[in-house]
Symmetry: C2
Subunit: 99 residues, 2 copies
């Protein structure tokens, strides 16, 4: 499996709008096992995105999906920066669909 | 929802053992919506644990479950430290059970 943990920084006051965009169109991404958008309770402009994919290829392919391209185009102007971005190798857990 | 993102550091050579312990007994934790154990591909001793709970209370209550207490007791001697630990407020996503 392929995992991503990222902290996105929205422009001031834009976090809710950014979160709504990131939550659009994520239910039809082949190979996406988990995609969670979370607010940082101590940082009013920060969102944490945690993702689990069956493979890095599936993640890469998702970036070409029309709904995802549209969401990225809408989201980019709202993003001030990426505070951290980590790639992981998920090995198991609870709440993932059976492989 | 209540979320946690943590980076655990195992004592050298103990990551696989630690991961196996962390993956035990996590399927019967009431209120746990997602619990993913992932290796850090660039840090041979590091594991990332990402968790989503229906509430902070459910997470707190899980720490008293016999299976969890047993796992913590086995895991602690293998853990060299916690590199980072962030609390989040998940607002939605894909792969979470319907509320």
């Amino acid at each position: 499996m392929h995992g991503l943990i990222g902290k996105f920084r929205a422009h001031p006051g834009q976090r809710d709008t950014l979160a709504a965009i990131l939550l659009q169109g994520i239910n039809a991404m082949p190979g996406c096992l988990s995609y969670v958008v979370a607010e940082d309770p101590e940082d009013a402009d920060a969102l944490w995105i945690t993702e689990v994919w069956d493979s890095a290829d599936s993640h890469r392919a998702s970036l070409a999906l029309p709904a995802v391209r549209e969401a990225i185009a809408k989201a980019m102007p709202l993003i001030a920066g990426f505070d951290s971005h980590v790639q992981t190798r998920p090995i198991g857990g609870h709440g993932l669909p059976a492989a």
